[in-house]
């Protein structure tokens, strides 16, 4: 009898180790991909806020008289700090989820650290906070269902972070969290929006595009005011050309962020089938990382980097 228990224990150990090995590589790749998407999305918010700020400051040149406001207060952020904190919490949740999966399959110490406990608690608090819904309702056409689903996602990830789990739970964890990952990504994708000429214009891409339109029109004024053939005209036309390219590239960065968030959801879905179809997961992650690399290069070129 004791021998049977021994064999069973060894078999269980082998099964767990096999599960560990099958998932470990893919989970580690998913973690890298999640980090890239989270950074890219944070970059998107910074890009919009910085561009709107730049346009507001430059528009001062068209106004007469002295500047009589405190510059530190005269230019509030387009996406306010309070709203940015909420979006950062959503992104922290995605990142923490990927890290938690990594801890299940990795050999790192899975004991809860203070930071994780604090994050889990803040995610749970935010999921119940009316400010979450209000913050995203400020972005037109985000539905109550979407914010409710994201709140449920935050609560689920908060719970996962503090639960004692083992590697064998992984398939069930992935399956249970697929809708939560989709809900968080959907909310962020929706907020990024589309350009004014699209069928569903507005939100961050709409605002960024319109801000560049204003910058372009202001620059056209400078061009028109310069004498033909002068160095000043040459420089102002070159600046105009670079703004045209910047508008296109900035919008492409936001569209790329939407696409990366979609690919993160697809990669998570592919994780569910990683045992039966490992190639599918590899394809999803490779596409995501290629896109993230492009975004990284774009953000690295922005002023102040």
């Amino acid at each position: 009898m004791t021998g049977s228990y021994g064999i069973l224990a060894v078999a269980l150990f082998v099964a767990l180790a096999a599960c560990d090995t099958q998932y470990a590589g893919a989970i580690a790749d998913f973690g890298v991909a999640a980090t890239a998407v989270v950074q890219q999305t944070r970059g998107a918010y910074t890009l919009v806020n910085d561009t709107v700020l730049q346009e507001e400051i430059l528009s001062l040149s068209a106004k007469s008289g002295p500047f009589d406001s405190d510059p530190t207060k005269a230019f509030p952020l387009f996406v306010t700090q309070e709203d940015l904190n909420i979006r950062n919490a959503l992104l922290d949740a995605l990142q923490a989820y990927a890290t938690a999966l990594g801890k299940l399959t990795g050999k790192t110490d899975s004991d809860l650290d203070t930071e994780t406990t604090k994050l889990a608690s803040s995610l749970t608090d935010l999921s119940k906070n009316e400010r979450l819904e209000h913050s995203f309702r400020e972005v037109k056409s985000v539905s109550k269902e979407e914010t409710n689903a994201a709140a449920a996602g935050l609560a689920a990830i908060g719970k996962l972070l503090i639960a004692r789990r083992i590697a064998a739970d992984l398939p069930a964890i992935l399956k249970k969290n697929q809708p939560h990952i989709e809900a968080l990504a959907r909310l962020l994708i929706h907020e990024i929006g589309d350009v004014p000429t699209s069928a569903e214009p507005g939100r961050l891409r709409g605002k960024l595009w319109r801000t560049y339109d204003s910058l372009l029109e202001a620059q056209v004024k400078v061009v028109n005011a310069s004498a033909a053939g002068s160095n000043e005209k040459q420089q102002s036309v070159a600046k105009l050309a670079s703004l045209v390219a910047a508008q296109r590239n900035a919008d492409a960065a936001l569209a790329g962020t939407q696409s990366a968030l979609k690919k993160l959801v697809a990669a998570h879905r592919a994780l569910l089938q990683v045992k039966s179809a490992p190639a599918g997961f590899k394809t999803e992650v490779a596409a995501l990382l290629a896109q993230a690399k492009q975004a990284e290069e774009f953000y690295a070129k922005l002023p102040g980097k």
């Binding site: 972005v139 037109k140 709409g206």
Partner: protein, 115 residues
């Protein structure tokens, strides 16, 4: 209070107007006429920002701000509408912008008068 549908319709009309004014801006040939169109674009931009960001249908103060901006814009947009034929020589672009202003004014008046 206007419904969510009324506000969505208003947003669509103002985005269409925004795109038409952009075309008119580039088609206008003088600095003065570009400035006039740019002024209207600023108003439209301001209203689009409000519609994009505010939880208007449940916020009385935001709704009051929107109504005020709409009332202010109605006169200026009507003025521009009357001048567009003269300042934009491309007939097709001018007509499209005139029609877009008309549609936006109908939607804006509905909200401004109903508030």
């Amino acid at each position: 209070m206007p419904s969510q549908d009324d506000l969505s319709a208003l947003q669509k009309k103002f985005y269409t107007l925004y795109n038409s004014l952009k075309d008119a801006y580039w088609a206008a040939s003088t600095v003065e006429s570009k400035d006039q169109i740019h002024g209207a674009e600023d108003l439209v931009n301001q209203i689009l920002d409000m519609l994009d960001r505010e939880d208007i249908e449940s916020d009385n103060s935001a709704m009051a701000d929107l109504t005020k901006s709409l009332k202010d814009s109605i006169k200026d947009l009507s003025d521009l509408q009357n001048k567009l034929d003269a300042i934009v020589h491309n007939v097709s672009i001018a007509n499209t912008a005139i029609q877009a202003i008309n549609d936006a004014l109908v939607a804006a008046t509905k909200i401004a008068d109903g508030a």
